[in-house]
């Protein structure tokens, strides 16, 4: 076990109405190489802000984030990101969108090879020349994942990537991301508010509390893969996470699983 990403005592304040608001308070987390981490929390707990700090879209008020031992303060080619919206460029076709994810230094032949590999990886070989507005939401998100992976990052951040998809497509995409994770061995950090998704995908589930955002508990998911959402052990895990989650959101559960 070697730590790839390490988040050390990160603090983030926003200034809202001239007042300092603490969004993240003393976040520390070690992510190992090849690990799949799910971060779960109710809306407003700062989980997306945490990803923005890692990717370099925001800067921390205090604390340090390192990737492979080097401090992360600006975007790095070692770190890719997929957002809730696919954020594809509508004037580019699938191939050109994915090409945008490759650093300039890569030569033409290598580019072509990588693009073809990644289109195949996300299963869109027949749609190479299609424009984003000709694709379904799930397919657009696949292109977005390919664009983030084609630069060959060590770490992939996923910010509620399936949140805008319908339930069936979401389950399908969860299986896809697992397949890609197993094939590419990329370390992944997923932010979600879907408990099942967090358990189904994660090696560990990080539960965050809000105001200020802090890590409440880290729950290892001791379920062998491939996991079944309907198994008894899965239900036990779900209950564990629910308990942390519901305590946090201060809602008395009126049913028990």
């Amino acid at each position: 076990m070697s730590g790839l990403l390490s988040i050390n005592h990160i603090k983030k304040n926003f200034i809202i109405d001239k007042k300092q608001v603490e969004v993240l308070s003393d976040i520390s987390l070690e992510v190992n190489k090849g690990e799949f981490i799910s971060i779960i929390g109710s809306s407003g707990c700062g989980k997306s802000t945490l990803l923005k700090l890692i990717i370099g879209l925001e800067s921390a008020t205090d604390g340090q984030i390192t990737l492979d031992g080097k401090p992360l303060v600006e975007p790095s080619e070692l770190c890719g990101m997929v957002f809730q919206e696919s954020r594809l460029f509508p004037w580019f076709n699938v191939e050109q969108n994915i090409d945008f994810g490759i650093p300039k230094s890569v030569g033409a032949a290598e580019r072509k090879k990588r693009i073809d590999e990644h289109i195949a990886l996300v299963g869109l070989t027949e749609f190479t020349k299609a424009r984003p507005n000709q694709l379904s939401g799930g397919m657009q998100q696949r292109v977005s994942i390919a664009r983030a992976l084609v630069g060959q990052p060590e770490l992939l951040l996923l910010d509620e990537p399936f949140g805008a998809l319908d339930a069936l497509t979401r389950i399908n995409m969860q299986q896809e991301i697992l397949r890609i994770w197993e094939a590419e061995k990329t370390t992944m950090v997923l932010v979600t508010h879907d408990i099942d998704e967090a358990i189904y995908l994660g090696d560990r589930v990080v539960v965050m509390s809000k105001r200020p955002g802090a890590i409440k508990k880290i729950i290892p998911v001791e379920l062998s893969r491939p996991r079944s959402r309907t198994s008894e052990n899965f239900a036990v895990m779900r209950q564990k996470v629910y308990r942390e989650f519901l305590e946090e959101s201060e809602i008395t559960p009126d049913y028990y699983i």
Binding site: I55, G56, L57, P75, S76, E77, C79, G80, M81, F83, E85, R87, F89, P90, W91, F92, F100, G101, P103, K104, R131, N133, Q134, L135, S136, G151
Partner: protein, 265 residues
């Protein structure tokens, strides 16, 4: 949408294709009949048949072509200068907040001035020949391209720019591959407006001071009381304006194919 089109029957073809041609023809027929019965005075409004025959003789004699060529030359040079200027300044204002703030008041004051009001000034500054006319057209097409370019650049989706940022793209690459394509639909709207303004400006400029061009043709025909020639000139202004817009719409469709709303079935 495609299915709906297929369902359009005979009545649809009539409304969509026959009616737009049939109704103007009907109006022309009424007009012709009223003229033939002397209910309309031909010294004020000549009959369509006489306008048509004047038009035909002016076309065959090359008179229209001569004036048209002059006007088209002025429009093209003025429009190219004006829209290029509007595009470059618009990009700068859209990208750099300081330039925007420095120019906002000047633009606010200058933009509402009607082009006609500038023609005497430009004649004083640049004389009565081509330069002043081209300057009027330049300014006339400049504003709409400028304003729409600024708007297009400022309303680029920040989320797409973030993607370029985290992928470590240079400012130039971000501008060329993300910001400009995203602003292009808006820029094109400005260009179309600019082209129709340019065409309106050339006619105005030629009516005030010129010895050739389609605006001059109309003005001269008034002085010598040739209503049919005036109407031919006016008709040509309309037709040429339509032609410019038609060409630009097609260019836009080719360039902005991605911007069409398409649904996957």
């Amino acid at each position: 949408m495609i299915n709906q089109k297929k369902k359009v029957g005979n009545s649809g073809v009539f409304t969509e294709l026959v009616l737009p041609v049939l109704f103007p023809l009907l109006l022309l027929f009424v007009w012709e009949t009223l003229s033939a019965r002397r209910i309309i005075n031909p010294a004020i409004l000549p009959a369509p048949s006489s306008i048509f025959s004047t038009c035909w003789s002016m076309l065959t004699s090359g008179e229209i072509a001569r004036h048209m060529r002059m006007s088209a030359f002025r429009v093209c040079s003025g429009f190219l200068l004006g829209s290029a200027g509007g595009l470059v300044l618009g990009i700068l204002i859209g990208l750099f907040h300081k330039i925007d703030r420095a120019l906002t008041l000047i633009i606010g004051v200058l933009r509402p001035i009607p082009m006609i009001a500038l023609i005497p000034l430009f004649i004083l500054w640049m004389g009565i020949d081509e330069t002043s006319k081209i300057a009027v057209i330049t300014v006339g097409s400049f504003w709409s391209v400028l304003i729409n370019t600024i708007y297009g650049i400022k309303s680029v989706d920040k989320k797409l720019v973030e993607v370029a940022f985290i992928l470590k793209k240079s400012r130039m690459e971000t501008l060329l591959k993300i910001v400009l394509p995203a602003a292009l639909p808006s820029i094109f709207a400005g260009i179309r407006l600019g082209a129709s303004n340019a065409w309106a400006c050339v006619v105005a400029a030629e009516m005030i001071a010129a010895s050739s061009g389609i605006g001059y043709l109309v003005m001269f025909a008034r002085e010598v009381s040739q209503p049919d020639v005036m109407l031919v000139g006016i008709l040509m202004i309309g037709l040429f304006g339509l032609l410019i817009d038609f060409l630009l719409v097609h260019l836009e469709k080719r360039l902005l194919r991605w911007n069409e709303t398409e649904t996957k079935d």
